[in-house]
């Protein structure tokens, strides 16, 4: 059911010919009201794609009636012409729906540095408007896929209200098109400021803690829309919990479908002085190619965990750190612990627990291994 699970949303996904495969590549999500509260989180990359520049601008109103998304082209690093293409797309959606362009967010994913074929995209938008339906959520989720093997959707039930969502991408999923796009919808009654706080809280502990290959996209976009169609006003805590559940569900689906990956790795840093320290140490592991290749090779190489966190400024004493891999404490006090031979890494799930013994905070970063298939996917992609 995806983004159309809550009442008052319609969606569609069509093939506009942006992808040479002929697969669906244009998605449209429309909010039929009565409210049009909206919030968003965008990439922090300093080369934000044209659709990110556009959507950041229109979201300043805290209002949104539609989101149009395309795969098959990121429209990033395309200059003023590219921004014009995004603007024209929003205007086209607005004209078709009888709303203002300022009510329309745009999201794109695909190769950086290539203009979109507008002669295909705009007719695609028209076709999507014609196909809008209250059960179009799955079709929309399918149309934003790049090299994802399955559409990612989530539904979370509130007390008389619902949160729906769809996502594509993330790290290894596909290079340049590594972009993560997420749309969340709810029929709860929510003030835009509350929605923004709840969304920021939800993404900070879910999609923002997936670090598949350390490469930050120019196009990452997470948009939430609330239309109040249920008539129910949840507490901010209830809303935050539901958005967090949906975003975490989608994040785990992204991780599991990361192309080229053979392992889902959860790195938990415990007893850190601060959450920031835990995240810094966790990300250093998630971005360490030597550790990621070792895990691809089923090698519980804890030395590479220490070497990775040894590059950070997290608070710890080198002779205090413990590392536990899949339940075996292979490193104690920064030195040799239990025999590494006891660690079974043959499954897809790997847990790495790092105990810094420097405080009481903790955080988990999710990542994948670095596999031969990852290199193959990412070297063969645009050529």
């Amino acid at each position: 059911m995806s983004v159309t699970a809550p009442a008052g949303f319609r969606a569609a996904g069509v093939a506009a010919g942006l992808k040479s495969s002929g697969d669906p590549d244009v998605a449209l999500v429309v909010n039929d009201g009565p409210d049009d509260a909206a919030a968003a989180v965008f990439t922090t990359n300093r080369f934000p794609a044209a659709p990110v520049q556009w959507s950041r601008q229109v979201l300043q109103t805290g209002r949104l009636k539609a989101v149009v998304l395309n795969s098959g082209g990121a429209n990033a690093c395309t200059g003023p012409e590219g921004f014009g293409d995004t603007h024209a797309t929003a205007e086209h959606v607005a004209a078709e729906l009888g709303i203002g362009a300022i009510d329309v967010a745009v999201a794109s994913t695909g190769l950086i540095g290539v203009r979109l074929p507008m002669d295909r995209l705009l007719p695609g938008v028209t076709a999507a408007v014609g196909e809008l339906s209250a059960d179009g959520g799955t079709a929309a989720a399918r149309a934003i896929m790049t090299t994802d093997t399955v559409p990612k959707t989530s539904v979370q039930a509130g007390n008389g209200w619902t949160v729906g969502g769809m996502a594509k991408g993330a790290g290894m999923l596909a290079p340049s098109l590594a972009t993560m796009l997420v749309v969340l919808t709810t029929d709860a009654v929510v003030d835009p400021a509350v929605l923004q706080r709840a969304l920021a809280s939800a993404t900070s502990v879910s999609v923002e803690r997936v670090d598949s290959d350390g490469c930050l996209s120019t196009n990452d976009t997470v948009i939430a829309m609330a239309n109040g169609a249920s008539g129910v006003t949840p507490s901010e805590a209830e809303l935050t919990a539901a958005l967090t559940a949906a975003a975490t569900d989608l994040a785990m689906q992204l991780l599991a479908d990361a192309e080229g990956s053979t392992k889902d790795i959860a790195i938990t840093v415990r007893n850190a002085a601060t959450v920031r320290d835990a995240l810094t140490a966790g990300r250093a592991c998630a971005r360490n190619n030597l550790l990621k290749t070792a895990l691809f090779g089923n090698d519980p190489n804890w030395g590479r965990v220490l070497a990775a966190i040894g590059t950070t400024d997290a608070a710890f004493e080198a002779d205090q750190v413990d590392v536990t891999i899949n339940g075996v404490t292979v490193c104690r006090g920064g030195a040799i612990g239990d025999p590494r031979e006891g660690v079974d890494l043959t499954g897809r799930e790997i847990t790495i627990d790092v105990d810094l013994k420097a405080g009481t905070e903790q955080a988990t970063i999710w990542t994948n291994d670095l596999s031969i298939a990852y290199v193959h996917e990412n070297s063969a992609y645009s050529t």
Copy 2:
């Protein structure tokens, strides 16, 4: 000639049985004086290996009469026992040579988290002492190899004095044993403080700008020794130039022999506000897996260059940045430049020039591509 090119140094390399292959694995470099000035630069990793902890301590005197090095084991993350092993090694060298342990630096490379087999290492040291000779530099360079395919040596002629050097490792060369070990020797007359300044300057623009895979070893060690045997006192500028030439020569040899790599990539960031900005932007590219896999695939994917520098805090305006790959300016003003089809990436050498248009400083970072062979090497290494 390696480290024995300057007068007054002897060296040896022997097989002690640390490597299962039976290849040479213990090297010894001895300074016969008359002076014993020394300087060093070590890894900044917060889990420094036992030999790094030891050598950092003895180098505080600015004096050194011998360096003993082993491959086949890093002696890192081995706790107080591992430090005891390093201490015992230095004592053994000292006893054999009739000097103090405080005159002996130790360097190791190999797997992290495994104790060294002292029953093989110490007899190996004795054997190395027996083989010391004024033309033993090449044998020593061979004994510190891990998966290097060729020994790396350099000789730079001064005016009546000489600099010699040997090196092993770097990034992709080999995981865990990714360590870079460098020993530089000179028969110039040099004060220890001058030697330290000259060495720090030389390494900062050479080996410290090689970023093969972004992974910082626990064992990196660069040691310089000056014995004054030539009787000539060069100016600090002359000495710095010669050390820089030797360290750069060795750095380029490391880059060219990086196992699994198919490309040598020089990333020059020009017109930066500061050298730090140039280095930050260059390193972000060197550590971006999507860019590195694209280059492995002969794909001039400039969007990944922008996406990488877009994650940094270097001063630039997004619509000002140009990117030139192998002479073709594929990106102008942060947008589409000349046709990417014009870029020939079939050779091993790749130059990427990023023009930030934010100042007058520049710096070059050297790296390699991310290849299928890299993943294979690094996943299969310790298992």
